[in-house]
Amino acid sequence: MIISIASGKGGTGKTTVAVNIALSLKNVQLIDCDVEEPNDAIFLKPQIEKTESVSLPLPEVDLNKCDYCGICADVCAFKAINVFKPISKEGNVLFLPHLCHNCGACAMYCPKKAISEKQKQIGIIEIGRSGSIEYVCGKLDIGEIKSPQLIREVKKKINKNKTVILDCPPGTSCPMMNAVKGSDFCLLVTEPTPFGLHDLNLAVETVKKMRLKFGVLVNRATDSRIIDDYCEKMNIVLLGSIPFDKEIAKLYSKGDAFLLTKDKYKSFFIELIEKIKVHCAVKL
């Protein structure tokens, strides 16, 4: 079973929930898909056994073969490749890597075979373990923007024989969607504030559009019923809540998973997973 942990708003407690669920279960694989800001390792302190490089093909133009015909620029939908051919002067080709989507059109259509594709690293995948937890994490190189592509590569490491927990990036756009795509259940973590509610609603719309099964977990719960009322009105499964507790915040700040010191939560997370399993068994 693959469970993705997501939220519209950042900082609601995705990582905390993902790590604590992983610690409560047996035979589990935790995948940190928040490749722009991966944090699971801070809490799990895994032993890294293997590091793999992830790269994407970028075009390289051989100006000795190029006759500045401009076909590559015509077929590039992203304006990443530009050909300048002044009258009676030497031409030039400008490639803007940040606009390139690595689709390969320019290389494929170049009549002079002047364009070849070279691999360029965008990030790495770390594979290791923390106790019995199998740990996988994607890390985007600083200055790179192609997190969805890296997330797709990270997810190829999914081990279907285990319970897979995907710690997803915040937001509701391409990185988040690539991370939650294909999961059996998406757990949306939120907090009982207007920000939390507003962004939860965006995340709910997104997972609904993707036809995923999902439920809500309230973190830092207070006496506010703002999320409860929303879930009731929208007919959304509310799976539980973790009360606001300055002690938990302090443990978090030190990089301690609170489960390790607060044993009473172990049963909370085990029950949470049981509830999720029941929901997954129900046909949509």
Partner: protein, 285 residues
């Protein structure tokens, strides 16, 4: 014209609440909400929409099943796994490269314009704001950020405003880079947790790649004093200025619940801390 962008790397450190307070303290700023994925500034600033526009972020492929001869050429060239075995295109995966449309021998593929969001020019009691709403499940948020920032610059030069204040997105990817470009100062809001500290370092590195100076605010500093000292030491090492500390305060979430910037909530300590940070920020630009 000066341009401040408030960022954090990690989400939930207090970017939006602090940005909104800056907007309340600044003299006639032009405001931009660059967190188009999960725009929240409007919950504190209550904008009146003056102008609303659609944003189109590229195209997506649609396959006409009645024309398709299932030759498989499109699947062969697509690098985004956006065409299924039964030749249906997946709008979420399609990046709009048009390669399938080019290679299709029977012209069964059509490239359609993607309406990926809306953007607004609105008024608030603190100044004009440009904000946006990314369509559900849409991509290209970086482009949308660039678009609304361009609008903010246009408005600022038309109205002779001196300051643009931007609420940035979390992360270090495409929308963040779009938010940073052209800024004079990146204000990084962090908190004394190992996660936030880790993310602060990454985001400061991105800013320095853009040659943009950063300055740090330590929010909820008293949550972990040891870590706060560590942040201050680290900033010294990285030559990043510290703008100040803000104490952990339950009134912060009460202010959010009431929908007002922190500085307008009746809590003198919070006000004092933020005002002193704002004065220091102004000295940097």
């Amino acid at each position: 014209m000066k341009h401040i962008v408030v960022i954090s790397g990690k989400g939930g450190t207090g970017k939006t609440t602090i940005t909104a307070s800056f907007c309340a303290l600044a003299e006639k700023p032009v405001i931009v909400d660059c967190d188009v994925d999960a725009a929240d500034m409007h919950l504190l600033l209550h904008p009146q929409i003056q102008e609303s526009n659609y944003f189109s972020g590229g195209k997506y492929a649609v396959i006409d099943q009645s024309k398709c001869i299932a030759c498989g050429k499109c699947r062969e060239v697509c690098r985004f796994d956006a065409i299924s075995e039964d030749f249906k295109s997946d709008i979420f995966s399609c990046e709009g490269c048009e390669l399938c449309w080019r290679v299709c021998p029977v012209k069964a593929i059509e490239m359609r314009e993607r309406i990926s969001g809306r953007w607004f020019v609105s008024s608030t009691k603190y100044g004009p704001i440009v904000h946006a709403e990314l369509g559900i499940g849409e991509e290209n948020s970086g482009k949308l950020v660039s678009k609304i920032k361009q609008m903010a610059v246009d408005i600022a030069s038309k109205t002779k405003a001196n300051l643009i204040i931007a609420d940035g997105p979390p992360g270090t990817g495409c929308p963040l880079m779009a938010s940073l470009s052209g800024a004079n100062l990146a204000v990084i809001v962090t908190e004394p947790t190992l996660s936030a500290m880790h993310d602060m370092k990454r985001v400061a590195e991105v800013a320095s790649q853009f040659n943009i100076p950063s300055a740090v605010i330590i929010n909820k500093w008293d949550l972990n004093e040891v870590n706060t000292l560590e942040i201050e030491r680290l900033c010294g090492e990285l030559k990043i200025a510290i703008l100040g500390r803000i104490s952990f305060n339950q009134d912060a979430s009460r202010a959010v619940t009431e929908g007002i910037p922190l500085v307008e909530y009746n809590n003198d300590q919070m006000k004092k801390e933020i005002c002193s940070i704002w004065e220091k920020t102004l000295k940097f630009i």
